[in-house]
Symmetry: C3
Amino acid sequence: MNAVATGSAASLVELTELNQAYADCLDSGDLCAWPNFFTPDGVYKAQGRENFDRGLPLTAMFCEGRGMFEDRVTVITKIMVYAPRYLRHVVSAPRVLGVTGPLICARASFSIFHTLPHEPTTLLSVGRYEDEVLLDAAGEMKFRLRVAVYDSLLIPNSLVYPL
Amino acid sequence: MNAVATGSAASLVELTELNQAYADCLDSGDLCAWPNFFTPDGVYKAQGRENFDRGLPLTAMFCEGRGMFEDRVTVITKIMVYAPRYLRHVVSAPRVLGVTGPLICARASFSIFHTLPHEPTTLLSVGRYEDEVLLDAAGEMKFRLRVAVYDSLLIPNSLVYPL
Amino acid sequence: MNAVATGSAASLVELTELNQAYADCLDSGDLCAWPNFFTPDGVYKAQGRENFDRGLPLTAMFCEGRGMFEDRVTVITKIMVYAPRYLRHVVSAPRVLGVTGPLICARASFSIFHTLPHEPTTLLSVGRYEDEVLLDAAGEMKFRLRVAVYDSLLIPNSLVYPL
């Protein structure tokens, strides 16, 4: 299947920008802006590849609907106790896997690095995003579903932020 | 040299899709689809940077023509004995280095990570792809030549899959 | 903010090519070509994220104007003593953060790996480029300012090459 056949070059540019803006949001620590990347009833999962591939339900992180996203942000920014860290996402170009009316199914690979104080930078996680993207009323792309499927089944330290 | 001068934006979109689809094929473990990324007389090499840069012939993996590709797939999927592992490619945007009639010469950088059972994800290899790409009769891009030139001269464990 | 709103798809293609050509220049060891990526009065900084984010002046590397760039190239290629190494940049797609007349402000994330002789490849640095880009008289994009803001505050070994 060919990108040109399934999505226009313009929507690839917009998808790329969506992915990079999402990564920037997390890397800059601006977690409060994270829920805005999703539709109001959007779903986010961080799920191990073994479970995703077998259709099993267990996830490391799960949010459905704006309220759960905002809860998660509150937990991370105000309640959890953890060492401060820098994140850095390096995300591949997206692939459009299919277009059904206004819905775009897309995939991209990610590598995420983190840096804790006084420590060298290490690899946090690699995997792929499996996405369902919609245009909202303002014509902006939002995730109706983003599953961060991580290959890295041993999570170093703990998973604080969304992937 | 400028991408816009040497290749249209449309062919960059298609090249990007080719690179990402190739990566996806290997990362998903769908090795049987791997030969389809090449022309029937296509060539694949995985070669250390020292040898490539000096024009020396030794490669870690070499396939020429559909038969050798299919042999390699059979060896990997049915004969070799190795621990199962997940691969993850994060590939940069491609550069068009030149266009000669229907032939596009292109380059992209890769980082490849692998995850073995019960082990943290580690870096497998980094390097660059040196590619010669043609449109086939159906208008799809195929590799006439892909050389995966790896910087990582010490291969951790062993090289099971193509890069 | 949306890429389509702030920059045309064509300028994203050119920015991507600029970033990849810059990475290629350093990865191929062609350091003499490095100053040409900047305007004659261009500025390059490699700066730790802590300092950049607080507006502090200390940088690990600083060049302003063609003379300082050429000095740096001479120092690296003729004077410094260090083990030879391969660099490999894997750079994300760029984001256009704003356009003011001919000036484009852009950002991209980088991961940089290095390989020393007889050693496995390791991560050198991750971070982001904060760029100001202009078209020169020949219509080519050049950096008026590139700040390589590295997350990796512990630099393994030493920083020989620009990031």
